[in-house]
């Protein structure tokens, strides 16, 4: 738990920065509630309600949320991830399903960065493909971008058709 790059596993359900912020807020709230209840009655059994995404995080990393040191470590990891701010914006022609976003997120975390987050947008002019934007660059992987790369070929083909 001490080194997030080596040991912490970020589930695919937590794919966007807003998910991380919600987890941080949830964990902070939970930590405070548990601390207050412990102060009132240290021997009482805690009844904890957590979100599905928090559950995925706990299962993926085998964390006991009732343990204060685990909660503190998890919050520390969340804050570090939030500070890293490895966000990739990616736009599609239509709204993507959660499964589709999970597959894209998986590819990014396997191939690019295991702790990156993606922000999904919609751009109907894309048609086919997607447009990805990292911190400094834009990768046009849409049909329009593909046609731009082959504009000379397209122009020559159209001129051949015009001659015919």
């Amino acid at each position: 738990m001490s080194d997030s790059k080596k040991y912490f596993k970020l589930p695919l359900s937590v794919s966007q920065p807003v998910d991380l912020n919600r987890l941080i807020h949830e964990l902070t709230q939970l930590n405070e509630d548990i601390n207050q209840k412990t102060i009132r009655n240290p021997n009482i059994k805690q009844d904890i309600n957590i979100s599905a995404k928090m559950t995925d995080v706990l299962k993926a990393n085998n964390i006991d949320i009732t343990a204060k040191e685990h909660r503190d470590s998890l919050l520390n990891v969340f804050n570090r991830l939030n500070e890293r701010d490895r966000v990739i914006n990616i736009s599609f022609a239509s709204e993507a399903s959660p499964e589709f976003i999970a597959k894209i997120t998986e590819w990014f975390r396997n191939e690019i960065d295991p702790y990156c987050f993606i922000v999904v947008g919609i751009n109907p002019t894309i048609g086919v493909g997607c447009i990805a934007r990292t911190t400094n660059r834009v990768f046009d992987m849409s049909l329009k971008g593909g046609l731009s790369g082959t504009r000379k070929l397209l122009t020559s083909r159209i001129r051949e058709l015009d001659k015919v």
Binding site: I88, S97, E111, M141, L147, R151
Partner: protein, 206 residues
């Protein structure tokens, strides 16, 4: 010419009258101026003879003869004058006719010449105008052709520059939402794989 004839006739009349008067006076002088050869008897006899010869009838006869002669001369002169006037009038008419004809012909010649000059000038002007119009037409034609060619090139270039947008828009409109994102997953992942290294470098450089 007519006035000279009038003067001549008048002079002739005056000369005839003067001669008649002179003759009468001379006769009277001879009768009255003869020397008295026989004294007063001769004179009286002479006077009687003269009075018998130059009586009133004789004088009246002389007057009539003179009057007739004068009238004859006047008539002759008038007739001559009339003939001369006719001749002069005919000559004058002929002269005027010739002069007017020549003048009219001359003026007509000048007028024809001026009309020819004006026509030549008009033809030259029309030719120059036609040439200028041809030149302007050629210039305008060249400019229009140049503008059309430039506009054609501009439209073609604009079309080529926006070709990808046009084709993409057409394909997007054609396929609409027919292609699901899940169907595009392989295509998207392949493109991501192509740009993977660039993405890694950009993220690592942050």
């Amino acid at each position: 010419m007519t006035i000279w004839w009038f003067y001549l006739v008048a002079a002739f009349i005056v000369a005839a009258g003067s001669g008649f008067i002179w003759l009468t006076v001379q006769i009277s002088k001879k009768t009255l101026g003869q020397p008295k050869l026989f004294g007063s008897d001769i004179d009286s006899t002479t006077k009687e003879v003269v009075g018998h010869i130059f009586n009133d009838e004789f004088r009246e006869e002389l007057k009539n003869r003179g009057r007739l002669q004068f009238e004859k001369i006047i008539n002759d002169s008038a007739e001559f004058l009339q003939q001369d006037l006719r001749l002069t009038s005919s000559q004058l008419n002929a002269y005027m006719k010739n002069e007017l004809t020549s003048k009219v012909h001359e003026e007509l010649t000048k007028y024809e010449q001026s009309i020819n000059d004006a026509r030549d000038q008009a033809i030259d002007s029309i030719k120059k105008t036609s040439l200028a119009l041809d030149e302007q037409r050629q210039v305008l034609g060249a400019e229009v052709q140049k503008d059309v060619a430039e506009e054609k090139v501009r439209i073609i270039n604009n079309f080529i520059n926006q070709l990808t947008d046009i084709v993409s828009h057409y394909i997007t409109s054609a396929i609409g939402s027919e292609i699901d994102l899940n169907d595009q997953l392989d295509y998207i992942l392949a493109n991501l794989e192509t740009n993977k290294q660039a993405m890694i470098e950009d993220i690592k450089n942050v």
